[in-house]
């Protein structure tokens, strides 16, 4: 039973006596133990045989190229598969200059979308497919860079850097948060600098501002369908993409990747289509007559945020012309099926903007016009009229009349069991203050308590 010490003096660690054979034995036991402890669904997969040597790697690439209809691109850093397609898509980018979005229409525009092995942003998430699209005359040229195996990544990064001109302007969908940082990570991991770019337009926030209000969500598939009329056939859900590539790494069968390529190609084409819609419909006044009212209000807000008030006003006014009478009566937006966001009300937007621009008399007229149409939003409009008359025109008598109008509407709604809380709270104070002003000289007394306001009500 007694054996010798495995090592003279094990002062530092239990791994010392654990020679390689012992480690193997411990791993074997761990394997057995794990199998017993874990449910069957989590059982280890059968050992994936590592493809041995460059021959197998070459065969894998060739199969991938064949399945995708692409060709091999050999570089000093390795080989990748490149798939190229052209689609006719006439486009004049110059009108984009008029839009309040960060894009330089004079530069080469490059649409980019990646397919990755996961949604995380850590160093272990790989971009195995980079789809690029750029215009060449009236045609949109789509170029997809495919990785056939992990060791070839430097070649893919080389090819990508070569495809991105230094003065190019990137166009992506959520690329600011996801695709581009992920690609930067890939370059950093190889200890290289990412390729330079002149600029980057992420269309996701643009789509949220302009189109989200009439769509079920802001996914690219929803936006391209609702805005550019794209109908994808059987599109591969994005969530399945990582698993398809990981499986290809293990079994080398490229066929399940074909739908991944189609999905990615449609993504970059859709980015191009959205640019076309922006340029043809929203960037030009004559195009705006074809735009949905809500889209124009969103654009107006974008202009306003960019400090272009006059442009914003033009959008709101165009929206007002486009808005259906039905839409205009009820300021609460038209709740459409599918849980869409409320449409912004162009009339309200316009009136607020005029006030903000300091065009007070026009703002007053705008509020009056809204008030005259009645409905729920008329209450708010009468309050706005009252404010304008009290503080702008210094006409408390007229302001009090506006307050009375609002109160009447409020009472009518209350009788129907409808409440408008802010107005219910606001109006008594406002009335009391106006009454005090009228009663005394221009007063500076603080607002009275609601109790005292009831004296004059009736």
């Amino acid at each position: 039973m007694t054996t010798e010490l495995a090592r003279p003096s094990p002062t530092l660690g239990p791994m010392e006596p654990t020679a390689a054979s012992t480690l193997a034995a411990r791993l074997t036991r761990l394997r057995a133990l794990d199998t017993r402890l874990r449910p069957a669904s989590e059982l280890p997969r059968p050992a994936a045989r590592a493809p041995a040597g460059p021959l197998v790697a070459a065969a894998r690439r060739t199969r991938l190229a064949e399945a995708l209809g692409g060709k091999l691109l050999d570089t000093p850093a390795g080989s990748i598969v490149v798939v190229e397609r052209d689609v006719p898509l006439p486009f004049d980018p110059l009108p984009l200059r008029a839009l309040p979005f960060p894009i330089d229409a004079d530069r080469p525009l490059i649409m980019l979308d990646t397919e990755t092995t996961g949604l995380g942003s850590g160093a272990g998430t790989l971009a195995f497919l980079v789809g690029l699209a750029s215009w060449s005359g009236d045609r949109l040229h789509v170029r997809q860079l495919w990785l056939a195996d992990q060791p070839e990544e430097p070649a893919l990064l080389d090819a990508l850097a070569a495809s991105l001109p230094p003065d190019g302007w990137l166009v992506t969908y959520n690329g600011r948060a996801f695709d581009w940082p992920l690609l930067i990570t890939r370059y950093r991991l190889q200890r290289r600098s990412p390729p330079p770019l002149a600029g980057h337009l992420d269309l996701l926030p643009v789509a949220r501002q302009l189109w989200r209000h009439r769509l079920p969500d802001a996914r690219l598939a929803s936006v391209e369908a609702g805005v550019a009329g794209v109908r994808r056939g059987t599109d591969l859900p994005g969530a399945l993409v990582p698993e398809r590539f990981l499986r290809f790494l293990r079994d080398g069968d490229p066929r399940p990747l074909v739908p991944v390529g189609e999905h990615n190609r449609q993504d970059v084409i859709s980015l191009g289509l959205l640019l076309v819609v922006l340029a043809e419909v929203l960037a030009r006044p004559e195009g705006r007559s074809r735009a949905a009212a809500g889209d124009l209000v969103g654009l107006g807000r974008a202009f306003e945020r960019a400090g272009q008030a006059a442009e914003a006003l033009a959008c709101h006014e165009a929206a007002l012309e486009r808005a259906a009478p039905l839409d205009r009566r009820d300021g609460r937006a038209v709740a459409r099926p599918g849980g869409r966001l409320p449409t912004l009300d162009p009339a309200l937007e316009r009136a607020r903007l005029l006030r903000r621009m300091g065009r007070r008399s026009e703002a007053l007229e705008a509020w009056r016009a809204i008030a005259a149409e009645g409905g729920r939003r008329a209450i708010g409009a009468w309050i706005a009229v009252a404010k304008e008359l009290e503080h702008g025109a210094h006409d408390p008598a007229a302001a009090l009349e506006a307050v009375r109008q609002a109160e009447q509407l409020l009472a009518r709604r209350r009788a129907l069991g409808l409440f408008f809380r802010e107005a219910e709270r606001d109006l008594p104070y406002r009335r009391a203050r106006l009454l005090r002003r009228l009663a005394s000289a221009p007063a500076s007394a603080p607002p009275a308590a609601p109790a005292s306001a009831s004296v004059a009500s009736g």
């Binding site: 010490l5 094990p10 791993l27 394997r31 272990g124 060791p151």
Partner: protein, 766 residues
């Protein structure tokens, strides 16, 4: 006599000892002599701005250990500084870092502290020094509380990044490409409070550091590592396990200290048979009140949050009765708001607070200066922690006092009976095992995610290929045609590894609220899978935050225990049948009385029954069966196989009792030797082991895979046996008590004698 009269610390101690009851309980009274400062001039190469900054802070020279550390770092060595609390350890790394940053703003340093609070403290100190020196420094804490907008600027421009191991593991390393400026220019890694990195946590941290160094190599940097630790045994070994590299150890403390008197109090036994003794808290209170009434700043250490709150309210009450300064005493523990803690620390520094009752939260390097007195309510679990807490008392040039009051627990009893362990024995080693297979594999996944492995590349001491091939079977890792190992999974492995617990699988405890109230179920805690069958089986009374919960149902498949709050007069205690089977012997050595060995074992635990015991009297109120599957775990064990000839003629039941008694005594001593918690160390004794066909005592590592404990017990066998023997022989009880051979050993009064004889067999000749 005035109750509140300012008096020097020495007088207060004498007043305390003038009480005969107190005096009688003193089992050790030592004087640690004053230590003179050993100073060294500022090195000639030190940037003049730093010299001016230090002078502006009133520092005219360095302590010898600071100078030594700086010179060693300058020579390109890793450095380990092991000196007392508040001896200026931070300067050992702050100065070299500032020196380098002043000369080259591109230089980066990474500071790692075990807690967020310490990072904040150290950042403040570093900023102060940089300001005093007029050196521009971008230093920032990067932890879970860092706001998102600040994070990206820290990544790009932070010259000194202060963080904790958890953040490094889950946020920095997996996203290393966003930190490339840091990794490319990393010149210093500072690992402070390294003695806290022990056990499973330490094993994880050692692997996090492996990953960190691997990435540094990828980015072409070769940082020096500065490690600081409280006094522990074999700091060189700890640091080598933790960082995988040798380090120059600097132990000579150049900071001055006044004389310190140290008392160890052993509350007298009231009932010998039951092991009941006078309360620990009574002595703690008496000592703390005496010091505070004399106007001496006093720190009281409790072992748990509950005892801190209890002591605090009792001390306040006592001070209030005498119209004393009851508002000048505060509590301090985890769970207090950061601002509250900062205010308490400041109050201690500026003297506005007279006393603080704290958990070990104040044991770490939080800057509160030094106080007059420290009173420890119970042995803090290790000699190192004891000296850390003692070290809080001791002003420069003035006398101070530190008092340890033992509790009735077995380890406390051992320390109280053998106070020499505190004074002469070398402090325990902090043990950790970076090669624990479970921990190692988990971090290897994370490391592959971070960067592919080249064939033959080492992770730790050996090539990782065999382990990677094992991971490839799971499908998360694959070897590509170039022979390298790549991450090939959608998962984010770091998120699956919690650093501060061992088992990756837990049972969550769900409070369903009081019966019939329709409260929303809430998760109140979790227990690891291996403890679950004995802690949260159906019918158990589970204690959480001093509240009782009744376990209504344990859903084993879903790993969920459903509980409801109750208020009952009993608790439950489950028994498990534990069987242990040796799988592989790593080493054996013959010795008197038998042979010792360590190796890998499989422990199967089957929870069998539970008893309901009345809270006060431990009276048995009934029992129930537990129906749960057996749990198996692989771990490492140290065992002692008794030579059958040596115990020939012993009665079987007497031998059984002696094996149990010896095992319990050895476990108690092992906890002292190895800084471990008794719950981390399992004990199985067999009168006739089916495997060895002789009597065997096993001490096994409670953590799956082990953290290197059995190996150390094997190496320190002689001390273990000698300690256990002393524990049993010196115990004043007649037939065995909870403090020596443990409770309820059958075989009448012979158990203790038998245990003594058995241990003597192993000690013979040594």
């Amino acid at each position: 006599m005035r109750l509140y009269a300012p008096a020097p610390t020495e007088h207060a101690v004498e007043q305390l000892l003038s009480d005969p009851a107190f005096r009688a309980a003193v089992v050790a009274d030592r004087l640690v002599p004053a230590r003179q400062a050993a100073l060294a001039p500022f090195p000639a190469w030190l940037d003049p701005r730093l010299v001016a900054g230090l002078r502006a802070q009133g520092i005219e020279a360095l302590y010898s250990h600071q100078a030594e550390a700086m010179e060693a770092l300058r020579a390109g060595l890793d450095v380990t500084v092991v000196t007392a609390t508040a001896s200026g350890k931070s300067l050992c790394y702050d100065l070299p870092v500032l020196q380098d940053v002043a000369q080259d703003p591109a230089v980066r340093a990474l500071y790692i502290f075990p807690t967020k609070a310490l990072s904040q403290d150290q950042a403040a100190g570093l900023h102060e020094l940089a300001r005093a020196a007029g050196i521009d420094l971008a230093a920032a804490v990067y932890d879970g509380d860092t706001p998102a907008p600040v994070r990206s600027s820290i990544r790009a421009a932070g010259q000194v990044v202060l963080t904790n191991p958890d953040m490094l593991h889950a946020a920095i390393l997996p996203h290393h490409t966003k930190w490339f400026q840091l990794f490319e220019q990393l010149r210093y890694i500072v690992i402070d409070e390294a003695h806290t990195y022990r056990g499973v946590f330490g094993s994880h941290v050692a692997n996090v550091i492996r990953r960190l160094l691997r990435l540094c190599a990828h980015y072409g940097s070769a940082p020096r590592i500065v490690t600081c630790s409280a006094t522990i045994g074999r700091p060189d070994a700890l640091v080598e396990r933790l960082t995988g590299r040798p380090s120059r150890v600097i132990e000579r403390d150049g900071s001055p200290a006044g004389p310190r008197r140290i008392l160890v109090i052993d509350p007298p036994l009231l009932d010998e048979r039951l092991g009941l003794r006078r309360g620990t808290f009574g002595f703690v209170e008496q000592a703390a009140l005496t010091f505070m009434r004399a106007g001496r700043q006093t720190l009281v250490f409790g072992r748990s949050r509950t005892s801190v709150e209890l002591l605090l309210s009792r001390l306040r009450e006592a001070l209030r009765e005498g119209h004393g300064p009851s508002e000048r005493i505060r509590g301090y523990r985890g769970g207090y708001l950061p601002t509250e803690r900062r205010a308490i620390e400041a109050g201690l520094r500026d003297g506005s607070l007279l006393g603080v009752v704290s958990t070990n939260a104040l044991e770490l390097g939080v800057d509160i200066g030094r106080l007059d007195a420290a009173v420890l309510a119970g042995y803090p679990g290790s000699i190192a922690a004891t000296w850390q807490q003692f070290g809080r008392a001791g002003r420069r040039g003035e006398a101070s006092v530190a008092i340890l009051v033992a509790t009735g627990g077995a380890v406390d009893r051992f320390v109280a009976r053998h106070p020499d362990y505190l004074f002469s024995a070398s402090p325990e080693e902090a043990r950790l095992d970076p090669d624990n297979l479970h921990v190692l594999l988990a971090h290897l996944r994370a490391a592959t995610f971070e960067l592919p492995f080249a064939p033959g590349e080492r992770f730790g001491d050996q090539p990782a290929d065999e382990l990677l091939a094992f991971l490839a079977e799971e499908g998360h890792v694959r070897q590509a045609g170039d022979g390298r190992w790549y991450w090939a999974s959608e998962n984010f492995p770091a998120s699956e590894i919690p650093l501060r617990t061992s088992a990756t699988e837990n049972v969550v405890i769900i409070d369903q609220g009081p019966l019939g109230r329709g409260a929303r179920p809430a998760v109140i805690g979790e227990v690891d899978l291996f403890s679950a069958p004995t802690l949260v089986h159906q019918g158990a009374i589970y204690l959480h935050e001093a509240r009782q919960y009744h376990v209504e149902r344990l859903d084993w498949e879903e790993r969920k225990a459903y509980v409801r709050p109750v208020d009952v007069d009993h608790f439950t205690q489950a028994e498990a049948a534990i069987t242990l089977k040796p799988l592989e012997t790593f080493a054996t050595a013959p010795g008197p009385g038998g042979e010792r060995a360590h190796g890998e074992v499989m422990v199967s635990s089957l929870a069998t029954i539970y008893k309901k015991l009345r809270l006060e009297t431990l009276e048995n109120l009934g029992w129930g069966r537990i129906h749960l599957p057996e749990i198996e775990s692989h771990t490492t064990a140290y065992w002692l196989a008794v030579d059958p000839a040596a115990v020939a003629g012993w009665r079987r039941d007497a031998l059984d009792a002696a094996l149990v008694g010896a095992g319990r005594a050895m476990r108690t001593v092992a906890c002292v030797l190895l800084m471990s918690d008794p719950r981390d160390l399992g004990l199985v004794s067999q009168v006739r082991s089916p495997h060895f066909e002789r009597p065997v005592i096993y001490l096994y590592d409670g953590v799956p895979g082990g953290v290197g404990l059995s190996n150390r017990l094997f190496a320190r066998h002689a001390e273990l046996v000698a300690g256990a023997r002393a524990l049993v022989d010196d115990c004043p009880c007649s037939g065995g008590c909870p403090a020596c051979i443990g409770p309820r050993v059958e075989a009448g009064g012979e158990a203790k004698a038998g245990t003594g004889r058995l241990l003597a067999l192993f000690a013979a000749g040594s």
